[in-house]
Structure formats: structure tokens, C-alpha cells
């Protein structure tokens, strides 16, 4: 079959909403885009464990500690599902992780901001997981089968993440003045970086058009961002917090909230590696990997020894 025929079959499937599976023929660029996007997503789950992990030992009650531990553990699980999805495209987990450690692969910039108070754990659950959910719900319908199925599993757990974050902030917002201030301060610091999670404006986004055509992405960056603002602006009323944007206002004509412009200089700066925690986050991942090297090696060697002994016994 000629490339042209294969391409036609591929595009027909996309058209008819039939999932593309690992063994199917796919354009090289489709494969590459997916590898980039899924591995970036996997890294975000794993690097995302660090800012929240920062408060596990200091969680204020045993119940909160258990919930946070379970939440961060979920994120590790998400990382695993997604590394497996990348493997179906022919890249090993080890290779993918090496790309993160060498700085070649990116992860979500949001995790390059520091968690300074306990309220940040609430703000991350509410805003960061909240933003992630919108993206992930859309990806449940993405055209690549293994990615879509991983997302369905992940989405089931994500709504619990957002709820627990909201709950932390709700408790603070009903607490003492000090706690209310802690809550507002965290929202002030996390609001804009959360909006940045959806990426550049559609007009500036380099990969968007092709991804939309291939139904990898099914909503644009700006559409998702608008959806997020509309959702959060309402929830903020329950929390009694102000979102730090003087231009945020309900627009009855658009039936949406209007909101101000993101500081794109900050956005690109953090993407380029100059965020407050870029270096610490990557260093922490590299350190864990390097310090685990002898453990992984010992496990492999021991497994070999076992196997050799077993075959000896059989013989």
C-alpha cells in the first residue's frame, strides 16, 4: 500500500472518531507530536509531586496528611499510566526520563512556583488540578487510543484532587483572620500561573492547528482558559476570596467572564527555565534518579541471579 493510501485510512479513522491504536500506521509527525505531548504530560505529573510533597511532613492534621499523601501518590500513578502510553509509541520509559533530566523535555511550568504556606496546598488542588481537569476531560476524547484510555482513568481521580484543595481553602476561609489572609495570599500567587497553564494564545500557539486537525486537541487554549475562568470565578464567591484581576467581570453579552491579560514575559521566562524553582525541581528529580541507580541495578542483578538459579534447578 502506498503512503497515500495509508494516510487516507488514517485520516478516515480520525474523521469517523475511530481511535488510532499502537499497531496502526500513523504519520511520523503524529507519532512525534504524541510522544512530545504525552511525555511532557507524564513529567508534569511526576515533577508536580514535588511542590505538594513539600508539605507532607508538615500537614496540619493527621487526616489532611493522609489525604495529601494519597493525592501525591495518585500523581505518581498518573505518571506511570502516561509513561506506559508513551512506551506504546516506541520510546522506553528510561529514554523519556533521560530527556527530562537533560532538560530536553519540558513539563508544566506551574510546578516551578514554590509552595510557601499550607494554603498553597489548597490553592494547587483548587486551581492547578482544576485547570488540569479541563484539559484532561478534553483529552479523554483524544484520537490516540492509549492516551485517551489513560486519561479516562486519570480523570476519575482528578475530581477528588480538586475537591480536597477546595475543602482546604474553604476551611481556611471560615477560620481566623490569619487563616483568611493565608488563603487570599495563596490565591493571589497561584491565580495567574494557573491561567498560564493553558499555554499561549491560539494565535501564538505553534503546535495547535495540526493537533486540532488530528483531533489530538479538541479545544483551543483560549477556549479552555475561558472555561476555567468562568468556573473558578463562581467558586471563588463561595470561598469569599478575590481573584487578583481588576478586569475580571461578568459580561452578559458574551455570557462569559472578561479577564485581564496574562503577563506573557513572565510566562516565557518560566518556560525558558527562569522560574523561581526550575532548577530545584529538576535537581530534585535528577537526585532521586541518581540515588536510586544502585537500587535499580541491584534489583536487576538479583532478578538475573534468581532466573539463573531457577533454570539450573530445572536442568
Amino acid at each position: 500500500m502506498s503512503i497515500k493510501d495509508l494516510e487516507k485510512i488514517f485520516l478516515d479513522k480520525i474523521e469517523k472518531e475511530i481511535k488510532i491504536e499502537p499497531k496502526d500506521w500513523m504519520p511520523e509527525q503524529y507519532r512525534k507530536t504524541l510522544i512530545r505531548q504525552i511525555s511532557q504530560h507524564a513529567h508534569s505529573e511526576v515533577v508536580g509531586m514535588l511542590p505538594e510533597g513539600n508539605w507532607i511532613t508538615r500537614a496540619p492534621t493527621l487526616k489532611r496528611k493522609a489525604i495529601l499523601l494519597a493525592k501525591v501518590q495518585d500523581e505518581a500513578g498518573h505518571g506511570l499510566y502516561l509513561y506506559s502510553a508513551t512506551e506504546t509509541l516506541g520510546v522506553s520509559r528510561e529514554q523519556t526520563i533521560n530527556d527530562l533530566h537533560s532538560g530536553k523535555a519540558k513539563y508544566s511550568s506551574i510546578f516551578n512556583y514554590p509552595t510557601l504556606t499550607w494554603a498553597d496546598i489548597g490553592a494547587i488542588g483548587w486551581l492547578v488540578d482544576g485547570a488540569a481537569i479541563l484539559n484532561q476531560v478534553m483529552l479523554c476524547r483524544t484520537s490516540y487510543g492509549p492516551y485517551a484510555r489513560a486519561m479516562v482513568r486519570i480523570c476519575k481521580e482528578e475530581s477528588f484532587h480538586q475537591r480536597q484543595g477546595f475543602e482546604i481553602l474553604l476551611t481556611l476561609s471560615r477560620g481566623t483572620d490569619v487563616q483568611k489572609a493565608m488563603c487570599q495570599d495563596a490565591v493571589n500567587r497561584w491565580w495567574w500561573p494557573s491561567l498560564m497553564m493553558f499555554g499561549p494564545h491560539d494565535s501564538e500557539s505553534t503546535h495547535s492547528e495540526q493537533s486540532t486537525q488530528w483531533k489530538i486537541k479538541r479545544m483551543s487554549n483560549d477556549e479552555l482558559r475561558q472555561k476555567f475562568v468562568d468556573m473558578i470565578a463562581e467558586q471563588a464567591k463561595i470561598l469569599n476570596v478575590t481573584l487578583p484581576d481588576p478586569e475580571l467581570k461578568w459580561n452578559p453579552e458574551r455570557n462569559h467572564y472578561d479577564f485581564g491579560e496574562i503577563n506573557w514575559e513572565e510566562f516565557w521566562n518560566v518556560v525558558k527555565g527562569n522560574g523561581p524553582c526550575n532548577k530545584q525541581r529538576l535537581d530534585a528529580r535528577r537526585k532521586a534518579w541518581q540515588e536510586g541507580e544502585w537500587v535499580r541495578q541491584a534489583a536487576a542483578v538479583h532478578a538475573e541471579k534468581r532466573k539463573a538459579r531457577e533454570t539450573q534447578q530445572v536442568a
Partner: protein, 253 residues
């Protein structure tokens, strides 16, 4: 509080503190494990231990009354009031220290809870029953790691030997009963920990055989934790654990 009640609450606190402090130590690995699957596994164990600690603190709070809660007991007592064994408060060290310590402790906990199933105190018996399922897995997971690292590479074997040298002196305390342990064992509520030692040693011997490790011959063991005389490490652990409750007293979180 009657004397018996006081002794029982001391005992329950001792059990709770063991679980909490080791749970707290293991939680330090979350996000930093040697490989994702094991990051998840050690976090699971941490979660189980914190769950056990919560059940036990809730029971202790009931016994103590007077407005005690699980969080007050965990967050507002100082190091001298903690009754955990020294073994659980030692720093997490490398993966060899973490897994070997877990093995020593879980093997002890398994024997302990098997006996506690027969406690005349129905709350303790129920907690033991629920915990046993978890602990059985902890023993399996940790002994597999002890074997893997002991009988792995030269480096992993050396690291296991170093871990053993660091930890062994802290295992004896598990089997030397404090006064409150003796009292509750005598009236059928608690377990006589001295009776667990032979079985524990046998289990260690079995796993060490496979791991190509040798039980040390030293007979000197550190003690004091059960009476609140701890290592210098505990204060720092509590400073982290209790930070928010100390810095912002009396608030809801």
C-alpha cells in the same frame, strides 16, 4: 483517670506513636523514591501506618477524655511524652536503611498484632485485625527488598551491611517490655513482647539466609524510647510534624 485507664492509655499511645513516627519518616520518600513503582509502595506503607496511628490515637483520646483528640495527641505533645521505640525515629537513610528498618519493624508488628487478636480489649483486637492485613503486605514487601539488596550487587550488599550496623542496636528495645506493657500484658489486654523475640529472630534468620546477611553477635541494645528518652532525631521530626499547630494554636484546618 483511674490507674488502669492511665496505664492502658500509655500503652495505646506507645502503639500509636510507633505507627505515626515511622509513617512520618517513610512519607519523606514521597516524590523521591528510586523508581515510581517503589515511590508508590513506600507511600502506601506510610499511609497504612498513619491510618493505624489515627485509629489508635482516637482510642487513646477516648480513654484520656478531657478534650483530647487524635490531633492534640499527635501535635501537642513534646518529645519527652512520645513513647515510640527508637528504631522508628531514626533518619530514613538510603533505600537499604529504609527497607531493612521496615522489615525489622513490620516483622515485629505482625507477631504483635497476631497476639493482639486475642486481647480482652475489643477495640485493640479490632485494630489488630484490620492492621494485620496491611502488615502482612509490609513484611512481604520489605523482606523482598532485604533479599534483593543483600543478594544483589556488591554495592547493594555493602549498603545492606552498613544499614544493619546502623539499625541492629535499636531492635532489642522492641522486645523489652516497659512497665505499662507489663501491666497490660498481665491483665490480658496487651501482648508480652518478650515472648515474641524468638519468632522474630527466626523470621530475620530466614530472610537473612536468602539475603546472604549475618545476624550481628553484639548483645548491647539501645533503649529509652518507650519511657520518652529519645535520640536527638525525634525533636527535629516533631518540629516539622507539629509546625502548623504550634505556630497557629487552636485553629481548625
Amino acid at each position: 483517670m483511674s490507674n488502669n485507664r492511665q496505664i492502658l492509655s500509655d500503652y495505646v499511645l506507645h502503639l500509636a506513636d510507633n505507627a505515626l513516627i515511622l509513617g512520618q519518616r517513610n512519607s519523606e520518600w514521597c516524590g523521591h523514591g528510586p523508581v515510581l513503582e517503589q515511590d508508590i509502595a513506600i507511600t502506601n506503607i506510610s499511609l497504612d501506618l498513619i491510618g493505624q496511628a489515627r485509629s489508635l490515637y482516637q482510642y487513646a483520646a477516648q480513654l484520656i477524655g478531657n478534650g483530647a483528640t487524635e490531633d492534640r495527641l499527635a501535635y501537642l505533645r513534646d518529645a519527652r511524652e512520645f513513647r515510640n521505640c527508637l528504631l522508628v525515629e531514626l533518619p530514613r537513610g538510603d533505600w537499604a536503611v529504609t527497607t531493612l528498618r521496615q522489615f525489622f519493624f513490620s516483622a515485629y508488628q505482625m507477631l504483635l498484632f497476631q497476639q493482639m487478636l486475642h486481647s480482652s480489649d475489643t477495640t485493640l483486637a479490632a485494630i489488630a485485625e484490620k492492621s494485620l492485613k496491611e502488615v502482612t503486605y509490609h513484611v512481604r514487601w520489605s523482606s523482598e527488598w532485604v533479599i534483593r539488596l543483600g543478594d544483589g550487587t556488591e554495592e547493594s550488599h555493602n549498603r545492606m551491611e552498613n544499614a544493619l550496623a546502623d539499625l541492629w542496636a535499636f531492635t532489642g528495645e522492641l522486645f523489652v517490655p516497659s512497665d505499662y506493657e507489663k501491666s497490660v500484658a498481665d491483665n490480658g489486654i496487651g501482648v508480652d513482647v518478650s515472648s515474641l523475640k524468638d519468632n522474630w529472630l527466626q523470621k530475620v534468620q530466614d530472610v537473612f539466609n536468602e539475603a546472604t546477611l549475618t545476624i550481628p553477635t553484639t548483645t548491647w541494645f539501645q533503649s529509652g524510647g518507650k519511657e520518652g528518652i529519645h535520640t536527638e532525631h525525634l525533636g527535629y521530626l516533631l518540629a516539622d510534624l507539629q509546625f502548623l499547630q504550634r505556630a497557629y494554636p487552636g485553629m481548625e484546618w
